[in-house]
């Protein structure tokens, strides 16, 4: 597969690693947060920690859309799905997220009509094909997926499709990064900035991180070499005493982002005053809801939902994992009570969740592995 292989070359990686090593200041330990769950997944899937110098530690951030949805919202989703005549459509990962009484997959097994889709447009198609049913799309994700929800709403409006609505759970990345920077538990040296989100919002919204907090931010792509180069650019800034927003992912990200996508979001959605994030609590102006003009397609208006706030399971430390305060394996239930088959927390469900990525790919003892080789 040519289009990705060139970003996975072990040879280039070796060169980059050597350059990164040369930038390490003796005795210094570096902590960089990769904000995006897609980065976390790549890091474990390709074993990037194995090629980085031991002084550099990658801390996993909050940018996993499935992970940040609190249990109360998942309960609401299931409540909608179990209403008569509803076809509830969702991305695959959300089907397995545990709520107060099982997951959407369990609701489906009990008889709810829950269908997996790959795009909100698929949900709209289902609505078109089933005019006598109520089709609801479970919209999740950061600014990455919000435009496709927005465009779907615009199309539903244009076509006059009345049996379709969106249960909006779109969140925004900047307030989450601010919450992490203001949390006293974590000392960071720099950020690997989110790639997909930045294709939409551009690199400008991160300027305050460099300016006010003096942390380098390097927006990076999702291939292993992208991430390695991101680390290199952060190291170079630190070595030169700089704190700037840099763009490694120039093949798709621009400074201003994608104005058409932003317009579509602005036309159909607006900021909520506040929204609850799993583990991070309520963060003001951190999520999107449908504008009143689109109330006809708003599942929260059209359907009765319980909207009860539910505390996360006590044992679950997804919040600390999402903030990067603890590593997945430091959670008390990690890998024992909480596994990808029987997840307790969201971080174990999504392939972008730090716990799932570590469990599925990273769960190998470097010590034992080295012994076996020698």
């Amino acid at each position: 597969m040519k289009f990705v292989d060139e970003f996975r070359s072990a040879e280039v990686a070796k060169k980059l690693t050597a350059e990164i090593e040369a930038l390490v200041e003796p005795g210094r330990h570096y902590k960089f947060m990769e904000v995006c769950g897609g980065h976390t997944h790549t890091i474990y899937k390709h074993g990037i920690e194995d090629v980085l110098p031991p002084e550099i530690e990658l801390v996993h951030g909050p940018g996993c859309p499935v992970c940040v949805i609190p249990m109360g919202r998942q309960d609401d989703a299931i409540a909608i799905a179990e209403q008569p005549n509803v076809i509830f459509t969702t991305f695959g990962d959300m089907m397995r997220v545990p709520a107060s009484h099982g997951s959407l997959l369990d609701a489906k097994a009990r008889g709810a009509d829950v269908r997996m889709v790959y795009s909100p447009l698929d949900a709209l198609r289902i609505a078109r094909e089933n005019p006598d049913r109520e089709v609801v799309f479970f919209a999740i994700g950061f600014e990455t997926t919000a435009p496709s929800t927005a465009l779907t709403l615009l199309r539903a409006e244009a076509e006059g499709i009345e049996n379709f609505s969106v249960f909006a759970n779109h969140v925004t990345i900047i307030p989450a990064i601010r919450a992490i920077l203001d949390s006293p538990d974590l000392r960071l040296d720099g950020f690997i900035g989110p790639g997909h989100v930045s294709t939409v919002i551009g690199t400008r919204p991160y300027n305050w991180i460099a300016r006010d907090y003096r942390h380098p931010v390097v927006v990076s792509g999702f291939e292993p070499l992208d991430i390695l180069q991101g680390v290199y650019l952060i190291m170079r800034q630190l070595r030169e005493g700089k704190a700037e927003v840099e763009n490694q992912y120039t093949r798709v990200v621009t400074e201003a982002g994608n104005p058409l996508a932003l317009q579509a979001i602005a036309k159909t959605m607006e900021l909520r005053t506040t929204f609850e994030w799993r583990g991070l609590g309520f963060i003001s102006q951190s999520a999107l809801k449908l504008r009143p003009e689109y109330a006809a397609w708003d599942a929260e208006v059209r359907h009765e939902i319980p909207s009860v706030r539910v505390a996360d399971p006590k044992a679950c430390q997804c919040g600390e994992v999402l903030k990067g305060v603890i590593k997945p394996w430091e959670c008390k239930v990690f890998g024992t009570a909480c596994t990808p088959d029987r997840p307790i927390g969201t971080c174990m469900v999504s392939s972008e969740g730090a716990c799932a990525a570590y469990y599925n790919y990273g769960r190998l003892s470097r010590r034992r592995d080295r012994e076996a080789v020698s």
Binding site: M1, H46, I48, A109, G335, Y361, L364, S365, R367
Partner: protein, 359 residues
């Protein structure tokens, strides 16, 4: 009281390999049929316990029964694939090849098959005739008769067109000595071609993804290939598996756990069709978790590996065979992958259910 990472990993490993005691789910979900860990737990705890007997205990693709003058292999498989016809094959061909391959993996020459049909009221007879013809052709290609069968019809809405169940008996070759327990550190792992083509072809054929990729199912009978492999390798072949649901990753995990050995695969050595790899990349699915219906995995003694690779490659169904990895003493029960990028990672069984009803 805080534990080190290695201590935590040890606890997880013990937990992971501990036998399961019961199915924790209240209802059957599609994950129980996906061939990954959920299927494993269901079969092991519910059926394994209910039917408990020494013939079932090895939990292999086919059971072997000692009879006067030899060993019989016996296997069964049901097919619920959607769509019924897909690029590279149809449900009928799949049903014949699936059972032929299960017998072949036990080192058996297939003697006879049975076919049972559950038909939905309203199913077009001409479609059924076409499927029957393709079953006949597949059986002829594998050199095995469909000797008995059964037909049931259910009301409209109670089956998705048709389901087929095939069973088969075969005679195990005297020189076949195939068992996961025979795997040893140093052994090599071979695959007979590109991985994940069947599962991805079905996903694409379903049309839900709006992806246009030219991919065909690899469904094929492997009995002749196995025959030639056993002729050449005999005792040097430790075990054979066909990596169907759950893919290569699941099969290797099962082998590693049964044999108490570690398996390491080299990412760059695993044959992948660019179309399969590309579709997997877009969908976020690991091709190592995707089903094959015409490929085998062979674990062989190191000194025989190159010769057996040549045997596989000489057969039309094994042209793209490769040595993809090897067996280590450590870490027992685990499958690791050396990434093309120069790192390493764990390869686990499939959790959850990205690919329902592919066979």
């Amino acid at each position: 009281m805080s534990r080190t990472e290695d201590e935590v990993l040890d606890v997880i490993e013990k937990r992971r390999r501990r036998p399961h005691f019961k199915v924790m789910d209240e209802h059957i979900t599609l994950a129980h049929g996906a061939g990954g860990r959920s299927s494993h737990v269901l079969i092991e705890t519910l059926f394994g316990r209910a039917f408990d007997n020494p013939l079932l205990a090895p939990m292999a693709d086919a059971a072997t029964v000692d009879v006067k003058g030899g060993r019989l292999a016996f296997s069964t498989d049901s097919f619920v694939v959607r769509p019924l016809v897909f690029p590279g094959g149809d449900i009928g061909e799949l049903a014949v090849n699936g059972t032929v391959n299960d017998l072949a993996m036990a080192g058996a020459r297939p003697l006879a098959l049975s076919a049972a049909f559950v038909l939905e009221e309203g199913f077009p007879v001409k479609d059924l005739a076409r499927i029957a013809e393709s079953m006949a052709a597949a059986a002829a290609a594998a050199g095995v008769p469909i000797a008995t069968g059964d037909t049931k019809v259910v009301e409209r809405g109670n089956a998705d067109g048709l389901y087929i169940c095939t069973s088969g008996v075969g005679l195990v070759r005297d020189d076949a000595n195939l068992a996961a327990e025979r795997m040893q550190p140093g052994d090599k792992v071979l695959v007979s071609g590109t991985m994940g083509d069947h599962g991805m072809a079905i996903m694409i054929a379903r049309g839900d993804l709006e992806l246009e990729v030219d991919l065909r199912s690899d469904t094929a009978p492997l009995n002749e290939l196995v025959e030639q492999l056993l002729d050449a390798g005999g005792d040097a072949i430790r075990c054979l598996r066909d990596p169907t649901r759950g893919g290569l990753a699941t099969v290797l995990n099962e082998l590693a756990m049964t044999a108490e050995v570690g398996v390491v695969i080299d990412e760059e050595a695993v044959p992948l069709r660019p179309e399969t790899n590309g579709a997997c990349e877009i969908l976020g699915i690991d091709p190592l978790h995707v089903a094959n219906e015409g490929k085998l995995v062979a674990v062989v003694a190191p000194e025989a590996a190159e010769e057996l690779l040549a045997v596989l490659r000489a057969h039309p169904l094994g042209l793209e065979s490769a040595i993809v990895g090897g067996v280590n003493a450590e870490p027992p029960g685990m499958v690791l992958l050396d990434t093309a990028f120069g790192g390493s990672r764990v390869v686990d069984m499939l959790a959850g259910d990205p690919l329902p009803r592919i066979c």
